[in-house]
Symmetry: C2
């Protein structure tokens, strides 16, 4: 069912500093910062030859990554995102298998403009998994 | 400097259960379990079209992932591994930039039979970074 690893998301307190680490120290291609007020984060993408790293910085009140950064003040790997061909079919199969889909179970439009869902970390090896329709 | 994302490593207590989640629930291609006594872990690889997920289970006394699992009893994302063309040149550049290389700074032969180094999470957005010579 799952296809490509679309991205690995890393939550950070200071996205300018994290961007500099990836650009200057690790020598990667780093995008500009984009505010995503609908998602409560600002994003920067690190373009690798086969996938991308998504840096996330909290934006506004009640950011979905605020609690994670309280627990991980230096930042840390927040989630992995796998691509699926049909997100509703994937959701129905996962629910039939007893896996928990976060929220109301309806795909939302994610930071890349495509339908996404998040799966419960307890059902997936302690890792938050995002599914994105390819 | 960094190239492809070689893998994302997920530490788990029960690699058979985690393998079943990826094989049966997420429908991915999952390898057999391999004991890596030199590294204190057993590994299973999830083959995705563009990269791989490495499941890690503690093996023997003093496994390098034991403390991580004490802090993260459900498991969790342990590290990311980026490929570099020349690991010693990469190390020297990183050290010149003030980044900390773990251990004695000499590349070791990793679980894939290639030279690897680990970088200090405090210098890399709170994430443990492995570099592997491509």
């Amino acid at each position: 069912m799952i296809g490509r690893l679309n991205h690995v998301a890393i939550a950070v307190r200071d996205i300018a500093k994290a961007s500099a680490v990836y650009r200057d120290t690790l020598g990667a291609e780093v995008s500009e910062k984009v505010a995503q007020p609908d998602h409560g984060v600002s994003t920067v993408f690190i373009h690798l030859p086969n996938t991308k790293i998504e840096l996330l910085e909290p934006l506004g009140e009640g950011s979905p990554i605020a609690k994670f950064l309280d627990k991980n003040p230096d930042g840390g790997i927040h989630h992995v995102c796998y691509e699926v061909d049909d997100i509703k079919a994937a959701r129905d199969k996962l629910k039939a298998d007893g896996a928990r889909v976060l929220g109301d179970g309806e795909p939302k439009i994610g930071a890349h403009g495509k339908p996404v869902l998040f799966l419960h970390p307890k059902d997936f090896c302690g890792t938050l998994v995002e599914l994105e329709q390819a």
